[in-house]
Symmetry: C2
Subunit: 452 residues, 2 copies
Amino acid sequence: MKKIIFLLLLPLLSKSQQDDAAFIKKISNEILQNGQAYQQLKYLTKNIGGRLAGSPSYNKAAQWGLETFKKVGADNAFLQECLVPHWIRGKGDYAYLISEKSKNKKALSMTAIGNSIGSKKEITAPLIFIENYADLEAKREEVKGKIVYYNAAFNATNIRTFKSYGETGTYRVNGPSRAAKYGAVGVVIRSLTEGTDNVPHTGTLHYNDSFPTIPAIAIGLEDADFIAANAKNEHWKISMKTHGKMLPDTINHNVIAELKGTEFPDEYITVGGHLDSWDLCEGAHDDGAGVVQTIEILRTFKALGYQPKHTIRFVLFANEENGTRGGAKYAEEAKAKNEKHIFALESDAGGFTPRGFTFGMSKEKLEKVQEWLSLLKPYGTESLEAGGGGADIGALAKLLGTPVAGFIPDSQRYFDIHHATTDTFESVNKRELLLGAVNMAALIYLVDKYGL
Amino acid sequence: MKKIIFLLLLPLLSKSQQDDAAFIKKISNEILQNGQAYQQLKYLTKNIGGRLAGSPSYNKAAQWGLETFKKVGADNAFLQECLVPHWIRGKGDYAYLISEKSKNKKALSMTAIGNSIGSKKEITAPLIFIENYADLEAKREEVKGKIVYYNAAFNATNIRTFKSYGETGTYRVNGPSRAAKYGAVGVVIRSLTEGTDNVPHTGTLHYNDSFPTIPAIAIGLEDADFIAANAKNEHWKISMKTHGKMLPDTINHNVIAELKGTEFPDEYITVGGHLDSWDLCEGAHDDGAGVVQTIEILRTFKALGYQPKHTIRFVLFANEENGTRGGAKYAEEAKAKNEKHIFALESDAGGFTPRGFTFGMSKEKLEKVQEWLSLLKPYGTESLEAGGGGADIGALAKLLGTPVAGFIPDSQRYFDIHHATTDTFESVNKRELLLGAVNMAALIYLVDKYGL
């Protein structure tokens, strides 16, 4: 009997794999020929633009997302309310480097770090050059009354640039409070990038309540290199003024669409990106790309008449950049309703050419997923590895134990434009963007078909 | 005895693999930290610019190449003379689409196809819309006295864009003579690209001596889409004037540097790219990238004190674009001198993020190479497949039977800028360019160490 089953199963499996390859090819053809993601990204970036949590343009983006979901054929589309922080940058920020020798003033290419509190009036104080936290600790007696300049640079030898971001991100996030602890009156960081220009990159910080909240800015790499090259022989003051303000929390919305499951309507697969972006850029790669890829997958499934077994949720999350409150709300509500979430996938690493996915799930589940590699390989996925999912679906993993995955496009260009004015529609390549949606849709299809 | 050898060999092999991994990491660190390729590319593209065979700027580029090879420490650097075609574009080319109904004139975004002969005076003739060669054959009686418009478009569903280029390239290369055969007086093609702008793309054609040489141009995709969208309801004339001229052959030079082999000085490994570019662009990806990667590998081997077993030749080939005479000359001279060439590698697919290599060699040799995959994988190489080498090393393969390889970066963005004014320095990402050199240098190192 065993032998017979074995003989029967082999051709069945093979036929099934052929079916999968054929359906994934259909997905790919549909997206590459008829994809609307690129045009949608143009609208989102050019007609709506930067859309930080709490801003009027976030609300415009949410309305656009809801309408677009309906237009491409969602079974159901709705807004999910959540409270978000409401930071505003204000206007007229500046910073100068003033040579103590020559008294020459050099305007710095700068941006206030997100969530930072403005200086109110101009601050002028000596710059103290700090390589890293060890250096800060060594010089802690000298910090009082000064503006700390953190020079921590990306390690160019890392092949994956997210590793470099992981290593230096703490200077932006925690650096201000760590400097305030020793009496610093302001913080300047080298922007978290390896780009070849002088454009400053913003991003969020977290103040530690135990220490004063001091103003904090990021400067462009040419200015940072100038400081680093001359720090041994020069002494400077920095004059800076910033206008950041944290207003009371306000209401934003996650934007959610559904395709109802035919077999397991009460089991959910989530795919999403975050709809908010930093205020100073168009948020094309971060994370307009993830947003329009998410919509594209829904459009494609409808266009192909695909009826999923599980209910697929397409989610545009609010407030990833400076609070992650959208993702938290989504998971809390799922928990409160006792929903069963079998898988969640996020695209939040840019609209670049696909290279693979990382997975936060058990070894057994990962091994099951890895059997699909040959089906995804023709479309650019070269690895299915253990790793994280994404900031917005982290709460699902934590609260509900949901297996999560992150889409991993090529990372070489991401930090050139990340959180900077250069994160524009023009920096996105149409085919790279669409191929991301192809690989994501294929993975969702396989998870829906075979479960996890 | 067998057992003892087995036990001895295992750790040896493992040690050797560890050594290889460590040395390749050194290569990578050296290139990513100290690489000069990006700055060199800036000089080549901005200070020298377009450098078509026969042009004064090609000679400037050759001098720059020779000096740069010497600067980075070549054991030996020299020029190798070769005769090249000498095509000049002339000035004042234009083309208009004239509606037969409204008589409205629409200026077309156009470029003369390389090697094409100018119209001398303005030609005005009815446009005949041709989808492909089958369509041309079907309509051959209607072609006489008309300007053939070939609408053959890239197939968006191809994942690798070189496949699309392979499928449609013939309309640029052979389309003019095939239309002239039936009496066409001019040819217009849809540019060989899938870009999202209206920039026209040049490239070479080959006239068939049996038919008249008629002028030929390429137009931007927005104009092409306009024609295609209205071809059923509209009739047009085209007015065009072009000024291309083929002058007598002239002398250019391949630029060659060597690192002398310590064990097999008379056995050669070649690595190269082509120094010429189309006249209308900076030739940054095509093939400034291959040029500076080639120089970077030499610089890196010298910086690391690597003494190769075989003599490594670093070659900047002349005249790939409209004649491939540089590659032909290099192979002819190698044959005349009875040189032994064990391997040749070319980078001529752009300075994009690495994805692998293709190989033109025996199955046995390819299998040997494929064992190195795990050593290259950390740097972006995901596949080592059978396939071609490159246009410039094709003659080596043909005349000497040399095993050849082509560096394969990601292809999604290549044809957006290929042979167009948009192939600029700014379209190249520094880390992507350098990572290409890392993977190429690692492959050269492995071939040098283990032979083929």
